[in-house]
């Protein structure tokens, strides 16, 4: 099991190689490009036995993956930002066709203005597309999660596309130690079993037919059922990964939540920053804990509900702005719904951080914890999302 110094971009490329991916169709876009280049290097050297399709756009990358998966191939790509949105038409279709393609996304801000820098505006709108979406917080976790993503996506109870999302530049380009796993061992965890419907001349089927008003609703409902199943499958996949390879994460990761009166929810790289802020806030006597959200879709309602029961206020640190929403944090909107339906009485504060890769300081998050503490002590929660780091 070679231990390598890898950026998250390289880590996801290694994971695809070690998962014996059959087809890669990738188009370069900052900050995911090094991952696409590393995959090309693997194929060029014969280290990875896959067809590499030099597609002429991201829309075609996703389309080629749909075609490849439809014939039973394990298919993978990487992208970001404009590319993810451009291919999104096809990702909805991949979900409807129930094809288990996996994508690495080096999350980056969306134009306009043009920004190559990291934040989560690209992945946020895909929340409702019927895709499994993971946020990771380290190169190691990205490596492990790509492998888990294949297991979950290809499970007969699921059959949906999966995205492993990682912060552009802050994770994609930063070198960290990664324990990799031998391909033969990975294949014991994710054997090549074509469990989904495929195009086979011996047993012809028609995929992607018209669904008129008499049929469409039921197809969508089946996707929803698959999403619900995916939660349990994701939990099992993580447990099994832990047993086989010694590392597991959970789909939410609590820190100092046992006696917490205040919870902060964070995801991606800045969950690390928030963790340090929690320690500092604790030193000041604030009884705050952190919940790192790892699986965003399907939304881990039960797991979050358990952690939020007994907490008086929760602050959600979002890395994207849901413009015009009742609050502007995409995950905050989900948490708000959870509270309203399952954990009434918990107060909600929404924050945005790191927009367009604006620096996120530990002290900013300590101040956020202090704000939450004031709300816990009776102050009215802010009516609008608090934009940390904005120059007003």
């Amino acid at each position: 099991m070679p231990r390598l110094a890898l950026t998250t971009n390289y880590a996801v490329a290694h994971a695809a190689k070690d998962s014996d991916v059959d087809v890669v169709a990738a188009y370069p876009i900052t900050p995911s490009t090094p991952a696409a280049e590393k995959l090309a290097e693997f194929v060029a050297n014969g280290e990875m036995d896959a067809e590499y399709i030099h597609v002429e756009s991201e829309h075609s990358a996703a389309s080629a993956l749909v075609g490849a998966s439809a014939v039973g191939a394990r298919a993978f790509t990487v992208t970001a930002s404009q590319g993810l949105i451009y291919m999104s038409e096809v990702l909805y279709i991949a979900s409807g066709l129930r094809l288990p393609i996996v994508l690495g996304v080096a999350s980056r801000a969306l134009s306009a203005p043009l920004s190559i820098w990291g934040d989560m505006h690209d992945i946020a709108p895909l929340r409702d597309a019927g895709l499994i979406i993971y946020f990771v917080s380290s190169a190691q976790e990205a490596y492990d999660t790509v492998i888990q993503a294949f297991k979950v996506a290809e499970d007969p109870r699921v059959h949906l596309p999966a995205i492993v999302d990682y912060d552009g530049f802050v994770l994609s380009h930063v070198t960290e130690p990664v324990e990799t796993i031998e391909k033969e061992e990975v294949l014991k965890y994710i054997p090549k079993n074509i469990t989904w419907n495929t195009l086979n001349p011996k047993k012809p089927i028609s995929m992607g037919t018209v669904g008129d008003p008499d049929w469409y609703y039921e197809f969508k409902y089946q996707q929803q059922v698959a999403m619900e199943n995916a939660l349990q499958v994701a939990v099992e996949a993580d447990e099994e990964f832990g047993k086989m390879f010694g590392r597991k994460y959970g789909i939410v990761e609590p820190y100092c939540m046992e006696d917490a009166d205040i919870a902060m929810i964070a995801y991606g790289a800045h969950a690390g920053t928030a963790r340090v802020a929690v320690d500092k806030a604790r030193e000041k006597g604030i009884k705050v804990g952190l919940i790192r959200l790892k699986l965003w879709r399907p939304f881990p309602s039960e797991q979050l509900k358990k952690l939020l029961e007994g907490v008086s206020v929760v602050g959600v640190l979002d890395r994207a702005m849901a413009l015009g929403g009742p609050l502007q944090g995409p995950v905050a909107l989900d948490v708000g719904t959870l509270i309203a339906t399952k954990v009434p009485g918990v107060k909600l504060v929404s924050f945005t951080i790191g927009i367009g890769q604006r620096d996120v300081r530990v002290d900013d998050l300590v101040k956020a914890a202090e704000m939450l503490d004031e709300v816990a002590k009776g102050k009215e929660p802010p009516e609008k999302t608090v934009p940390i780091g904005l120059r007003e």
């Binding site: 399709i53 002429e56 298919a75 195009l199 001349p201 012809p204 992607g208």
Partner: protein, 322 residues
């Protein structure tokens, strides 16, 4: 001369040799007289059952697969409108990878065929087609050209001929139908350095069938530009589909030629061309055309014919003779 049917992937000498097996079933909801089905049926006979079809959004896709019904007796996939070339690329690459890894049998050829309309090829599907051709995937791409976006109700495309009425190039006080010259898809395909490209026409079934076999056997991407008359969009009686298709060739409007590994050949020479007005008067979409417009259309056809004669190196398509 044998009149017995041949197996798939074999060229024929006469129409009696066309295989009888049908890989697309009737009962679909195409218009009477639709050109698409003549073309598709014949290609599937040439290809045989070991064939995967990619079908971007359009008339063909919509009339053959309204769930829970399907006309297709071969594996078939529809993904979106603009990505036929890309989906086919993914299928072709996956088959290669899976054959190499022993998941699919190595010795079994699986044909990958795209059936796309002019919408999904000349306009919105152009980029995806171009990428597929440039990368050299072994795919047969059949452009079923009915010269407008027919599925959505007859809107113009980059393949709509000069002068034609469509709902987005209507005839009014300021506009008199389409005023631009359609794209030359064979030349565009050839510019991608592919091994084989050809025009085909259902009024010439033996020529059409043999080009389909050649395309399926090509050692790389093959592009077939099929003339598919549309009674509904072109406004002619559905019983006259083949007549319209034949007249297109006899006027030089549609030249039956092929490009095979660098060599051009005109398969159906026309020594004396009929004037284009013979062709126009059969179709309601051209009914409004003035003398001047007809003259312009004739010039466009004359230029096209001249270009093809040059490519072939001799006057295989002759002058207009009234």
């Amino acid at each position: 001369m044998s009149l017995k049917e041949v197996g798939p992937m074999q060229e024929i000498k006469n129409h009696m040799q066309i295989p009888r097996d049908e890989y697309i079933a009737g009962g679909h909801s195409a218009c009477q007289g639709c050109g698409h089905f003549i073309i598709v049926r014949h290609l599937l006979k040439a290809a045989g059952p070991n064939t995967i079809v990619v079908n971007p959004t359009g008339c063909l896709e919509v009339v053959t697969t309204v769930f829970p019904y399907s006309s297709w007796r071969v594996p078939w996939i529809h993904v979106a409108f603009e990505n036929g070339g890309a989906v086919a690329s993914g299928i072709e690459a996956a088959i290669k990878a899976l054959q190499r890894k022993g998941v699919l049998p190595k010795d079994e050829q699986i044909n990958v065929v795209v059936f796309a309309g002019d919408g999904g090829t000349v306009d919105i599907g152009f980029q995806s087609l171009s990428g597929m051709l440039e990368r050299g995937h072994k795919v047969v791409y059949v452009l079923l050209d009915n010269e407008a976006y027919m599925n959505t109700g007859i809107q113009r495309s980059g393949s709509t001929p000069f002068g034609a009425w469509t709902t987005t190039t209507p005839v009014g006080k300021k506009w008199k139908g389409e005023w631009r010259v359609r794209k030359d898809m064979i030349q565009i395909a050839v510019a991608h350095h592919i091994p084989y490209a050809a025009t085909i026409n259902p009024a010439y079934p033996v020529d059409m069938y043999n080009k389909m076999v050649k395309a399926l056997k090509a050692d790389g991407p093959a592009f077939l530009h099929a003339y598919s008359p549309c009674p509904t969009g072109w406004r002619f009686d559905p019983s006259r589909t083949i007549e319209v298709a034949r007249l297109a060739v006899l006027t030089g409007y549609w030249v039956l030629y092929e490009y095979d590994h660098g060599q051009y050949k005109v398969n159906v020479p026309v020594l004396k061309r009929k004037p284009v007005k013979e062709f126009i008067k059969l179709q309601g979409r051209f009914r409004h055309m003035t003398e001047e417009q007809i003259k312009k259309l004739q010039e466009i056809i004359d230029q096209q014919v001249e270009m093809i004669n040059k490519l072939v190196g001799k006057q295989v398509i002759g002058p207009v003779v009234e």
